[in-house]
Amino acid sequence: MLQGDKMSKLLVKDKEVVVPGEILAEGMDNLPGVGTYRDENEIVAGRLGLTYIDGRTIKLIPLSGKYTPKRNDVIICKVIDINFSGWRVDTNSAYSAMLSMKDATSAYIQKGADLTQYYNLGEYIVANVTNVTSQKLVDITMKGPGLHKLKGGRIISVSPYKVPRIIGKQGSMVSMLKKATNCRIIVGQNGLVWIEGEPDKELLVEKTIRKIEEESHLAGLTDRIQRFLEKETNIKLG
């Protein structure tokens, strides 16, 4: 493509792994999307990532990195502190979150009540992020469908960037996992996954999730996982 005297050239394909400083395109035709930046005549990678060419925009999908709390995310947290106004939780990121009494449950909590009766130290909860300030102060709520304390089962940690693949389009991947193993599974946007069911099946869920993590950037993932599960469980999933 020619534009005036300068040649515009896209130097990378879609779904290519690129490193910081790598030149992705020359010329003014393309636009720098998330994870990239423009340096005069070039569009450059601003992180390690996977290219995603969206029309004229070049974006980079992260391949690694820790979770950063975002509004409306449903996350799995661990209670690490209790004070007189509520609970402080670990969000599996650099920032803890605050659950205040008024957001803790749909029932009314009396002032001076024993808060450990609701959520105790070391317990895990599924919560919704309601607010993140510029200073990364995070508020969460337990009021809402699907938000509750977790009992039993086990928790594993995955890369937060793999969560979309583990959930799948409209939840298709995690539904397939649930169907194949008869386990209850909750996937937190922050990379924590809760699994509960028969011990062998819990292990299979973990194995499958690790497989999804490793192969997430390759084509045909859903089919491969389906075949894998069918082989392991002798259940037809198609």
Partner: protein, 260 residues
Amino acid sequence: MDEDLKKHVVMLLGSDKRLDGRKPLEYRKPIKAEYGFTKTAEGSAKVNIGETEVMVGIKMEVGEPYPDKPDAGTIIVGAELLPLSNPDFEGGPPGIQAIELARIVDRGIRESKTIDFEKLCIKEGEKVWLILIDIVTLNDSGNLFDASALAAYAALQNTVFPEFDGEKVDYGEKTNKKLDLKNIPLSVTVCKIGDKFIVDPTTEEEKVIDARLTVATIEDGTLCALQKGGEFPLTQEEILKMIDIGVERGKELRGVLKNG
């Protein structure tokens, strides 16, 4: 979830299973020992047990003997839990965890009499060889005790004396003289969770163990060192059972250490 985690682990052990699918007395795979990973040490070995990785390097020094043993050299074991290997490790001088690790490994080597300390004597009362064994953790995914002990013993097998002209050690010149080793010790840490025993705990399992017993043995199964850890007391029966497990698993782990 440590309480919940413990309940879960105990339940799984009830059916002889663990979180990662292993049997209770099964070690992770692979277990690898790589000898001589660095040219700067007089002896070195890197050991992997599953994803746990530990390096041991040995430097030899000439120094004065202890006054109560003027004709013998000795070993000095140090351990560093590097912050690089575990997000919870802080830098700074060795804490009690690192000190215990070093002393357990020391005990296993010293009490097995694998090294004849008198053979390290150069000039009685004046000059003896000191074997400085340094343990350094690279990745902590559980069971640093056994990985460190294995790496230390493997490093000893790999060690050669540097040149010594009577006055100074020449580290640039290595001799062909290896350490004369007998009775290679092997360490197995047996852990108790609920009323079941496991070996080779992962980081998660280490959070819920009640007690542990590190059992060091020599080739014929004779015990040469023991260390109990953890907050819960053990019955005599349990200790004897754990020793049995330690001796038996020790025999299997020995295959990782090549001979000589």
